[in-house]
Amino acid sequence: MLEIANLRVSVEGKEILHGIDLRIDAGEVHAIMGPNGSGKSTLANVLAGREGYLVTAGEVHFEGRNLLEMPPEDRARAGLFLGFQYPVEIPGVSNMYFLKAALNAIRRHRGLEELDAMDFLQLAKEKMKLMDMDESLINRAVNEGFSGGEKKRNEVFQMAVLEPRLAILDETDSGLDIDALRIVARGVNSLRGSERGILLVTHYQRLLNYIVPDRVHVLVDGRIVKTGGKELALELEEKGYGWVGDGAGIEHAAILREGALPA
C-alpha cells in the first residue's frame, strides 16, 4: 500500500531524514517511535504533502502511484489521511460544512454519489458518538476554542467519517488524559481492517497499549535504527532510546515514561 524507499528530506537546507525505507501493507498497523527532533513529524508531513519540505532523494509510492507528485488534496482523495499533531483552528468555517465538503470531494473522486445534508448529519452523529464528542461541536467553527483533547478527538472523528485507506496519526496521543486516550484508541481501532493501513507516530509507548501495532520502528536522527514487533515498544520504554542505537550520533537518550517528556 505504502512504499517508502531511501527518502531523504531537507528543511531550510538542513537534511532531516537521511534515507527512510518503510513498507506498509493493507491490514497492518505500524508505529514509528522516536525522541523529539528525530524527524517523525517531518515524515508525516512529507507524506501528506505539506509545503516547506524538500525531497532530495528517494521515492514514495501509495497504491502504486507516485505520492510525491500529487498535491495534498489528491493524496487525500486517493485515501491518505493525516491526523495533525497541531490541528488548525479555522474561524468562520463550521465543522459540519468543512467535513461535508471534504467527504463529498473524496466521494466524487471515487465515483460515489455525494451525501446530502441529512445523510451526512446522520453519519456524523454516529461517528461523534463513537468518539464521545458533544454534538454541538459539529456546528462550531473548525477547532476554534476546542480544548487540546477535543482537537485530537476531532481529528480521529474526521478520520472515522472520511474512512481513509491509510491513516497517519501524528502524535494524536500527546496531551490526552487516560480517558481521552482510550476514546481516541477506540476510534482508531474501529477503523482497523484488512483493507486499511495505519501509521502511528508517537512519543510514548502508552498509546500502543490500546492500539497494538504489528510493527514498531524506531526513528532516531532521521534514520530508522530498529524495527521489530509490538514487544519492541515495551523494551524501549524500559531501556530508553540510547539502547537501540549503535551509539553513533544518538544523543537523545529519552526517558519514555509518561510525562517525562514535553508533549
Partner: protein
C-alpha cells in the same frame, strides 16, 4: 484637468434640459434648492487626489465621462426580471426604482399604518412638499463634497420613509435600485430620506444593481434622521456592474438614546466610494457601522467613514472588512471625533483586510480626534493573507485549492454577515456573496 472639466460641464449643460423636462412644475423652493446645489457643484468640482479624504481615490475615470442624467420613461424591465434582486420576496415592502425613478408597477408597497409613509420621494414631494423641504434643509452634512450637491441638483426621486413617534414598522422596507443603461452613459441620482420619530422602529435595505458590463453612474444620497429612543436598522447592498461607478453618501443624525446600525456590503462597481458621516447628537446613543468590501480585477473601492461623538455617554462600534484580489485596490478611512462635551464616549473601530493576490492593495487610515478626557477609544487595522496552515489543513482533507481558498475567504467575510442582526437578510446575503465568489471560483452554496 480639461477632460475633468468636460465631465463636470456635461452635468451643468444637462441641467436645463432636465429642469424643462421633469422639474418645470416643481415648487419654487425646490427649484432654488437645485439651482443652488448646481452652483455649489460647479464651484467645488470633483475632488482631486490632493484633497484630504480623496488621496487614494482617483476620480479621473469618472470625471472624464460625460454622463447624461437618466430621465423617467420606458426601460424594458418587467417584474419577472426582478427575482434575484429582491430580498425577502413578498414579505418585504419593495420599492423599485429604475435608473433612479420609482416604478409603481414593479413595487409592492404598503402594509403600514396610515400615519407612516414608505414610498417614492417624488410622490411625497407632490403630496407634502413643505414637510420634505424642511427635512432636506435640515439634513446633516450635505455639503461635505461635490457629490452631495450634484445629487441635490438633480434631486427628484428616491425613497421617503417616515416613521411616526412610537411606531414600529414590521415589514422590512427594501429600496431596490436597478440600472438599465441606455446607448450613452447615464447617471442616476437616488435620494433617500429616512425620518424616524421618537421611539420609532424601522428596517431599511438599499440595494443597487445593474446588468453586467453596463457603464453608468449611481450617485446616491441617503439621510437618516433618528429620533430619541428610536431603533434603525439600515443595510446597503451594492452589486453594480463591474464597469459602473458608484458614489454613495450616507448621513446619519442620531438623537438621544437612538440605536442605529448601518451595514454596507460593496461587491460591484469599477469605482466605488462610500462616504458615511454619522453624528451622535444626543446622550446615550448607540451606533454600529459595519462593512464588507470585495474587490477584484481592477475594481477600486473606497470606504470613508466619520463618526462624531457630540454628546456624552454614546457608544460606537465599527468593523469594516475588505477582501481584495487580482489588481483591485481598497481604501478605508475611519475618522472618529470626540468633541469636548462627549465624556464617557466608548468608541471601537476595527478594519481588517485580506489580500488574495500579490498585486492587490489596500490603504487603511484610522483618524482619531479626541477632545474629551474621560473616554474609551480603540482602533486597529490589519492587512493579511490566507493562512498557509489553514489552506493545507483543508487540502489535506481532500478539498482542492480553489475551494479551500474560497472557503477561507468566505469565512473571513462571515462574521460581518453574522452581525447583520437580521436572519432572513443574512441568509440571502450569504447566497449573494457565494454567488459573487463563485463567478471566479467553483464552490457550491453551503447547506
Amino acid at each position: 484637468m480639461i477632460a475633468t472639466r468636460d465631465g463636470q460641464n456635461a452635468y451643468i449643460d444637462a441641467f436645463e434640459r432636465f429642469e424643462k423636462k421633469v422639474a418645470a412644475g416643481d415648487p419654487a423652493w425646490l427649484r432654488r434648492l437645485r439651482r443652488d446645489a448646481l452652483a455649489r457643484f460647479a464651484d467645488l468640482g470633483f475632488p482631486t487626489m490632493r484633497e484630504e479624504g480623496w488621496r487614494h481615490t482617483n476620480l479621473a475615470p469618472l470625471a472624464e465621462v460625460a454622463f447624461h442624467p437618466a430621465l423617467p420613461g420606458k426601460n424594458g424591465i418587467s417584474a419577472g426580471m426582478l427575482g434575484s434582486y429582491l430580498f425577502g420576496g413578498r414579505e418585504s415592502c419593495n420599492l423599485v426604482f429604475i435608473n433612479g425613478w420609482y416604478s409603481p408597477g414593479l413595487s409592492t408597497p404598503g402594509g403600514f399604518p396610515s400615519c407612516a409613509y414608505a414610498g417614492s420621494l417624488a410622490a411625497a414631494l407632490r403630496e407634502k412638499p413643505d414637510k420634505i423641504g424642511e427635512y432636506l434643509a435640515s439634513a446633516p452634512g450635505r455639503e461635505s463634497n461635490a457629490f452631495v450637491p450634484l445629487n441635490t441638483a438633480f434631486l427628484s426621486d428616491g425613497g421617503f420613509i417616515f416613521v411616526p413617534d412610537g411606531t414600529r414598522l414590521n415589514r422590512t422596507i427594501h429600496l431596490v435600485y436597478l440600472f438599465a443603461p441606455g446607448a450613452s452613459p447615464t447617471a442616476g441620482f437616488p435620494r433617500n430620506l429616512i425620518v424616524v420619530g421618537n421611539g420609532g422602529e424601522v428596517t431599511v435595505v438599499e440595494s443597487y444593481a445593474g446588468p453586467a458590463g453596463g457603464v453608468y453612474f449611481t450617485n446616491a444620497v441617503t439621510d437618516v434622521i433618528a429620533g430619541d429612543h428610536s431603533r434603525v436598522g439600515h443595510y446597503r447592498v451594492q452589486r453594480e456592474s463591474e464597469e459602473a461607478f458608484h458614489v454613495g453618501s450616507l448621513n446619519i443624525d442620531q438623537a438621544e438614546n437612538a440605536v442605529v446600525s448601518s451595514h454596507s456590503i460593496s461587491l460591484g462597481g469599477a469605482l466605488t466610494r462610500n462616504t458615511i458621516a454619522a453624528t451622535m447628537n444626543g446622550e446615550g446613543g448607540e451606533l454600529t457601522l459595519n462593512g464588507l468590501y470585495f474587490g477584484r480585477n481592477r475594481q477600486h473601492v473606497d470606504n470613508h467613514t466619520s463618526i462624531i461623538h457630540a454628546r456624552p455617554h454614546c457608544s460606537s462600534r465599527e468593523l469594516y472588512k475588505g477582501i481584495l484580489d487580482d489588481r483591485a485596490t481598497g481604501v478605508f478611512t475611519g475618522r472618529i471625533v470626540v468633541r469636548p462635551d462627549a465624556q464617557k464616549t466608548n468608541a471601537r473601530q476595527t478594519n481588517k483586510n485580506l489580500l488574495l493576490s500579490a498585486d492587490a492593495l489596500v490603504n487603511s487610515t484610522p483618524q482619531l480626534e479626541i477632545f474629551a478626557d474621560d473616554v474609551k477609544c480603540t482602533h486597529g487595522a490589519t492587512i493579511g493573507r490566507l493562512s498557509a496552515d489553514a489552506l493545507f489543513y483543508l487540502r489535506s482533507r481532500g478539498i482542492d485549492e480553489p475551494d479551500a481558498r474560497s472557503l477561507l475567504t468566505y469565512a473571513f467575510a462571515g462574521d460581518i454577515l453574522g452581525m447583520l442582526g437580521n436572519k432572513p437578510l443574512q441568509c440571502q446575503l450569504d447566497l449573494v456573496l457565494l454567488a459573487h465568489m463563485s463567478r471566479t471560483e467553483g464552490m457550491g452554496a453551503p447547506s
